[in-house]
Amino acid sequence: MTAVLSVRDLGVTFDTPRGPARAVDGVSFDLHAGETLALVGESGCGKTVTALSILRLLPDAARVAPGASITYAGADILKLEAEPLRQVRGAGIAMVFQEPMTSLNPVLSVGWQIAETVLAHKSVGRATADARAIEVMKLVGIADAEDRYRAYPHQLSGGLCQRVMIAMALACEPKVLIADEPTTALDVTIQAQILELLVDLKRRLGLSVLLISHDLALVSGVADRIAVMYGGHIVEEAATADVFAKPVHPYTEGLLGAVPRIDRPELRLAAIPGNVPPATEWPAGCRFHPRCAHAWDRCSTGEPGLVAAGANRTARCWLIEEPGRRKSS
């Protein structure tokens, strides 16, 4: 498989009054052609910052580590000049955000906004752009696309707005779609519609999808591979089935145990103790060790690297070297 997008040693630091916050640290992954890779983690784990770095949408206060590279179509996005970067955004890599209502301009009709994206990337006339807008609106399952072209965001429901956002992202036929919590703001039944749509579009258009989510359950039905993030690191990466069958990293294990499951209503959930520390105060050693059930002295002094933990999977944990230390639960 060939990688469409390669992220290497990505580090992002924010300067805060409490000192530098290392929001993302040493993150590397490949997104292969036609696959869906999910970046999963709780708030503050660095998944959104990773997604924003790929399109260079980080706020000015962010500093990207000097050794980092993000390779797309043979070029390092981090080193692109303004114009080629603009071409990558939208036409190469497109992004869908969590809040469709606030991501759309309230005073412009939704169809017009989609057509604008087309005009920005293709040397076509207004009529062609409008036709393309209506075409992609139909593609994402918007009924009466011709009428809805003239609708303003506030006249549409949250689910429809998210479809418009997806249509806008797809208008210039990108190779990669980054979806940052695309269903979190939506109701359960609408969430199912949007997920179904993403799966369907990926198959029909041969997209590569980077799905950012906090919800392991949601990701399980959509992703081919999962990268779990904690404390700015990827702590485990493996095929979806492997992650669920036998999580290697204790944090992944903990997350799986903490998710309430409709099919298994046990009385108690296996909660992970404690809280995610702020990015200014990562503990020494393994960043998860204060909350880890298996931790021993090595975990509080040495920081484990991301190493192979079986076929086609990696994890960042000393248990891989010393499996005997794993406590049976």
Binding site: L160, V188, L216, N275
Partner: protein, 338 residues
């Protein structure tokens, strides 16, 4: 102090602990100047009961009226019609002074713990204030109670001098729970108490709520949009759609044998943390209709996928009827699934 008139129960053995009947809350819709007043019903003729020590899970999507219903029951929002009884007391008949005293017995925990705490009040004071207002203790005794409550909800008592913004989201929600417990309530409305929390913290708080219920014999109304969360905590479940309850049953029945098409769709839409294929998903078409213009007939008929659906559904609204014991459904064809 609570007067004897409040504590006494008129018919203790017969009535359920919480009994809500015909509850309706109307709102005036936004209108232009001098336009005719239009009202809509956020909660429409809802009746429900909760037994002492039980948890009723109230499930629905945004706009279903579940939050309004929860707040009407404890009279944070005044209902337009209907009756509410708690332990035999007619809650709607309480005058403001007696209502304030009665609030000791019914409490609420909010979804947004940050908004529910006064940003300029130390969290220890936030828990102590109701203790003193209700004259349950004062001075050092009240402080001791605060310390005990902090420990009970899993917070270090040294946190009492902090302001809300100095705590994490999970810790703030623990403070809100401690504050609700400070007046020793019997009934608590939990309005999406874990929706804003991260998964690992959500599990901590859910476990805490379960422990507190068992230890203190509390009765819960647990409002949520997440059916998986409700599955873990509720004894009974009621599903709301467009201001009405469309199905209610003991949890095992509702999750095992749902009869309303909306319940079925909701259940099938819940993601399960299991990548194995094989689950057939029902994906509903369209959005819920606006409560301003509820459709005639069954409120769900436009999105319904029941094979027996016919013209009757578009004209005649199905009443909530008993299907089997405590299982009630508002669907003409609830017992005609293939």
């Amino acid at each position: 102090m609570t007067g004897p008139s409040i504590r006494s129960s008129a018919h203790p053995p017969i009535r359920p602990f919480i009994e809500v009947s015909g509850l309706t809350r109307e709102y005036a819709a936004e209108r232009a100047w001098l336009e005719r007043r239009v009202t809509f019903r956020a909660v429409n003729d809802v009746s429900l009961t909760i037994g002492r020590g039980e948890t009723l899970g109230l499930v629905g999507e945004s706009g279903s009226g579940k939050t309004t219903l929860g707040r009407c029951i404890i009279r944070l929002i005044e209902p337009t019609e209907g009756t509410i009884h708690m332990d035999g007391t007619d809650v709607r008949a309480l005058e403001s002074a007696t209502l304030r005293q009665f609030r000791r017995r019914m409490q609420i925990v909010f979804q947004d713990a940050t908004g529910a705490l006064n940003p300029r009040m130390r969290v220890g004071q936030a828990v102590k204030e109701p203790i003193e207002v209700h004259r349950l203790a004062r001075g050092a005794d009240a402080d001791a109670r605060v310390a005990t409550l902090f420990q009970e909800v899993g917070l270090d008592p040294s946190y009492r001098d902090r302001y809300p913004h100095e705590l994490s989201g999970g810790q703030r929600q623990r403070v809100v729970i401690a504050r609700a417990l400070s007046v020793e309530p019997e009934f608590i409305v939990l309005d999406e108490p874990v929706s804003a929390l991260d998964v690992s913290v959500q599990a901590q708080v859910l476990n805490l709520l379960g422990d507190l219920k068992r230890k203190r014999g509390l009765t819960y109304l647990f409002i949520a949009h997440d059916l998986a969360v409700v599955r873990h905590i509720a004894d009974h479940v009621a599903v709301m759609y467009l201001g009405r309850i469309v199905e209610t049953a003991p949890a095992a029945t509702l999750y095992g044998d749902p009869r309303h098409p909306y319940t079925r769709a909701l259940l099938s839409a819940v993601p399960v943390a299991d990548p194995k294929p094989g689950r057939a998903r029902i994906v509903l078409a369209g959005d819920p209709p606006s409560p301003l213009k509820p459709p005639p007939g069954c409120p769900f008929h436009q999105r319904c996928f029941h094979p027996k659906k016919n013209s009757r559904c578009a004209t005649e609204r199905p009443e909530l009827r008993v299907l089997d014991g405590a299982h009630r459904v508002a669907c003409h064809f609830a017992d005609e699934w293939p």
